[in-house]
Symmetry: C2
Subunit: 319 residues, 2 copies
């Protein structure tokens, strides 16, 4: 849950003086995203989301994220559209933080996705991958293979206390991925964090993708591997092959996977599981006293990783 | 900040099946109130607030709180109106908690109230006091003089570590209040927590009072004493006599204070300061590890109490 920064009425009025959004009717801190402070702003003209970027987001990267959202929205993708102020800028300062106003999206995120939702997110992701083809900016993925090595080393001394044997699972996996990670697949800007809380639906129709703050350049199929981990396991940690099939079919209805991508899927799924295992482990062993966000249990992703290790061929994912 | 309970899409749909509110457009946890989980619900028909009552609220008292809001709203006071479902009930169960849907109020709470805001809140409070005259339910104030003694005893062993000399200030004050607390003043249902975050304004006009979950039967002028403490001190803890005068004048424009109420104001202000000093102290020494709500520093109310102790007559409040 977010909302770290309190925005008072005077600061809000000064900020909104740059925008032609009409009279403020309501302004409420909302529990959306975990890295930033988000507010729902209602005005005589409609609803908006105001985001203040807190310290975990690198200021220099904001033009990439806002540029990406603007690019996608211009291509008709349902995602927040950054709104330019009277100076043509979407990014400005509020309460000492970079801040941006974006359009409001209808819909609810689903906590219990059905196969229909999985198909929808697959389709939406493929549409995003198609829409970024002519996006001119780049952002390296700091949470790729070499980033995972760094995270593993940073957690080494405390991992054993979290779960006995965890560090040897991580080290074995890194050694395997060093050899097995694909070198050359279709690449582009991926969302890289397309979890159920970042997708809105109405009546099982996708109405929006949000939270592009992990977006980066990487293999397109790696985005799908992240989504498989996020959408296709049940709360009891069992793997739902129907949901996976629908996710992949939804994706392929828009963009067909190449044979090399299909072949790489088991390795990508292992890498994706390890990525979330490691960032959750890192947050778990570096808990901040009094923080508002409770870290997520890394063991969920240990189970997912162990599942993918037992997968013998992409066919087991329904391909 | 609130939002403790996550409401999933199925639970929400089941709950809303009892209401004729149209199609759900958005549903977001909001940072409003500290005791309950609050959600902003937008539907085809408008905006609503959905509240789940968490464990600090006593279930048996909810009919009082909802009845009070319904009564006030029916009298034209700007406050959340509980919305009855198809069974005529406003209170039902959601995610294992009592829950109610209420109307949405326009406006923003102000963090830096001006004298104009203070006049508005005085007027709004007096209108509430007038509107409750024929409200048929009662709720005792558990945070009155005997409650303060209990809180003081519960904090006794840890108070010294919070602020040296604090317990002797509290004990001296309780001894004085035992003698000086008024016995007989006009009484009725008071808000008892009318802080700036519980009042909405648009263009300096009051648009709503919210958060009635401390409302109880007590002296009407005690409500004013609470508001004086909450609205009329500056962030540097200095006392703003202009704001106090406007608060009291706004109140008296609707309901004139009796001479006994005016005379009791210094004692009521001391009691009100002690009440918030003690509840903040209690929450401070009983911090819950990992809680989402950070306790407020009790020392702010020590300063306010010491200020009121130096007041020699009600005239110093501008009366």
């Amino acid at each position: 849950m977010a909302v770290y920064t309190h925005v008072d009425e005077d600061a809000l009025a000064d900020f909104l003086a740059h925008y032609d959004v009409g009279e403020v009717i309501a302004f409420k801190g909302i529990a959306e995203g975990v890295e930033n402070s988000n507010f729902l702003l209602q005005t005589g003209r409609g609803s908006y989301i105001l985001t203040l970027y807190e310290k975990r987001v690198n200021r220099d990267e904001l033009p990439f994220f806002l540029g990406l959202m603007g690019h996608l929205a211009a291509k008709g993708l349902a995602c927040p559209t950054p709104i330019a102020g009277d100076d043509g800028q979407a990014l400005r300062e509020l309460c000492g933080r970079p801040a941006a106003l974006v359009s409001f999206l209808r819909g609810l995120s689903v906590m219990r996705p059905t196969p229909v939702h999985c198909a929808g997110v697959g389709r939406g992701m493929a549409e995003m991958h198609r829409a970024v083809a002519d996006f001119g900016m780049r952002r390296e993925n700091g949470l790729g293979l070499s980033g995972w090595h760094q995270l593993a080393n940073a957690c080494r001394d405390q991992a054993e206390a979290v779960r006995p044997g965890l560090m040897s699972i991580v080290d074995d996996e890194l050694a395997w991925l060093d050899g097995a990670w694909p070198r050359n697949l279709p690449a582009g800007v991926i969302h890289a964090d397309l979890f159920p809380d970042n997708v809105f639906f109405m009546h099982e129709q996708l109405t929006g993708l949000i939270d592009f703050y992990f977006a980066c350049n990487d293999f397109l199929a790696y985005d799908l591997a992240i989504a498989m981990n996020a959408w296709c396991f049940e709360p009891d940690r069992s793997f739902n092959a129907t949901k996976t099939r629908r996710l992949l079919a939804g994706y392929q209805a828009v963009r067909a996977l190449e044979p090399a991508e299909t072949a790489a899927l088991p390795a990508l799924a292992r890498g994706a599981a390890l990525r979330f295992l490691l960032t959750r482990l890192y947050d778990w062993v570096n808990q901040v006293e009094g923080a508002l966000v409770r870290p997520k249990d890394p063991s969920e992703y240990v189970e997912k990783l162990l599942f993918h290790r037992r997968v013998k061929s992409p066919g087991e994912y329904g391909l």
